[in-house]
């Protein structure tokens, strides 16, 4: 038996009725268009994702700080880093006595016009402070429950008020600010869960930024209003 000849004949018989479809070229071109579109979509998605990933740190750097570049608190904050010499006025201007003109136009614009009570013009992220209280020196940095914090204090004839802004990426719950969950009652500030005890109000303004407001007992009824006016 001539195997090669038989193989040729078998192959010829096997594919004798095979013809390419008439629309083969169109199908190939359609497949090519689909492939091109798929590649373009993939590249576009990758570019958008890369741009987003590259832009996120810049966006975060601009928006994650509680008080913006013109705020005095930013320059006093331990997480704010070095301050350019042109803006160093903020480090020495915390709480400014009422009535004293501002030196920073950005700070003055940061005070909301809807404020109803007396305000602290020098600390623009605090929009309400009872009028009888005066700043007790400049804000200073310290640690609260192990986290870096900035503390600003006000005193009156018989009252005192302390606002502590605590920053840490690990800060996620109000309980971390030192108020016991069992002894405090839950409430809300700016729509965020908060804990309140007599003379204290603590909440997480946003992940990584917590606020603890403390006062003596006569001021306690005003704490929610003071807290409501804090916008770090």
């Amino acid at each position: 038996m001539d195997l090669e000849a038989e193989l040729r004949a078998a192959m010829a018989a096997h594919v004798s009725d095979v013809d390419a479809p008439a629309e083969l070229a169109a199908a190939v071109r359609a497949r090519h268009r689909r492939r091109t579109a798929r590649i373009r979509a993939t590249v576009a998605t990758a570019v958008v994702m890369a741009a987003g990933m590259a832009g996120w740190p810049a966006y975060h750097a601009v928006h994650a700080t509680p008080a913006g570049s013109g705020h005095p608190l930013l320059t006093a904050s331990p997480s704010a880093g070095p301050v350019p010499s042109g803006r160093s006025h903020g480090a020495t201007s915390m709480p400014v006595p009422p009535g004293r003109p501002r030196t920073s136009p950005r700070s003055s614009s940061a005070v909301p016009s809807h404020s109803t009570g007396p305000t602290r013009p020098g600390v623009s992220w605090v929009t309400y402070i009872p009028g009888r209280l005066k700043p007790a020196g400049a804000c200073h940095s310290t640690r609260v429950t192990g986290f870096p914090a900035t503390i600003c204090e006000w005193t009156g004839a018989s009252d005192w008020l302390k606002i502590q802004v605590v920053r840490s990426p690990a800060l996620l719950r109000a309980e971390q600010l030192g108020l016991g969950a069992l002894t405090s009652r839950p409430t809300t500030v700016h729509g965020q869960p908060a804990l309140a005890t007599p003379g204290h109000l603590a909440w997480i303004e946003r992940p990584g930024v917590g606020i603890l407001v403390s006062s003596d007992l006569p001021l306690d009824p005003q704490l929610p209003k003071i807290a409501d006016g804090i916008h770090p």
Binding site: L3, E4, E6, R8, A10, M11, A12, V15, V18, A27
Partner: protein, 169 residues
């Protein structure tokens, strides 16, 4: 130097599509797989069609893409088959009907060969390419083509003999 345009691609597919499809079917066995492989190969060729010179026959280029694609797929499918099959039948079983035609048996046995051996036989005995041309198309030496063809034919012969003996006995 003129380059090929879109119209020449359509013309080429109309003229040589059937021949390429037959080669593909002999190499992969089923009509659906052959059409899919041919479309894939033609699409790959279409990507670079504009770079081909108009006075050069594009068929060897397309055929080379097709054959390499089918060998790659054959190897992949063979691996998948080996994974999925618990064990291979070790003893040849006679066909239900003893009047199996020799040519049908040859085609069946051809599909049982390895992808490269099958490609060598198809190119040598269907496409009527010389050993030199086959070696060039497959990217191997002439010696490899000779040895692959020899082994494939020997394997076909032995299987065919066993099959015929079973039919007789």
């Amino acid at each position: 130097m003129r380059r090929r345009d879109d119209g020449s691609f359509v013309e080429f597919v109309e003229q040589r599509g059937s021949a390429l499809l037959r080669t593909a079917q002999l190499m992969c066995g089923t009509r659906q797989d052959a059409e899919d492989a041919l479309q894939t190969a033609l699409e790959k060729a279409y990507r670079h069609w504009g770079r081909l010179e108009s006075d050069v026959d594009p068929e060897p280029y397309v055929r080379r893409i097709l054959v390499n694609l089918l060998i790659s797929r054959g190897r992949r499918w063979r691996i998948l088959r080996e994974i999925h099959m618990a064990r291979l039948p070790e003893v040849p079983v006679p066909a239900a009907h003893h009047d199996v035609e020799l040519r049908g048996t040859l085609i069946e046995e051809l599909q049982l060969l390895g992808p490269k051996q099958r490609a060598v036989l198809v190119l040598r005995y269907w496409e009527d390419l010389s050993e030199q041309e086959t070696a060039q198309l497959l990217g191997c030496s002439v010696g490899t083509v000779k040895s692959q063809a020899s082994r494939a034919l020997a394997r076909l012969r032995s299987r065919l003999d066993a099959n015929l003996a079973l039919q007789r006995g």
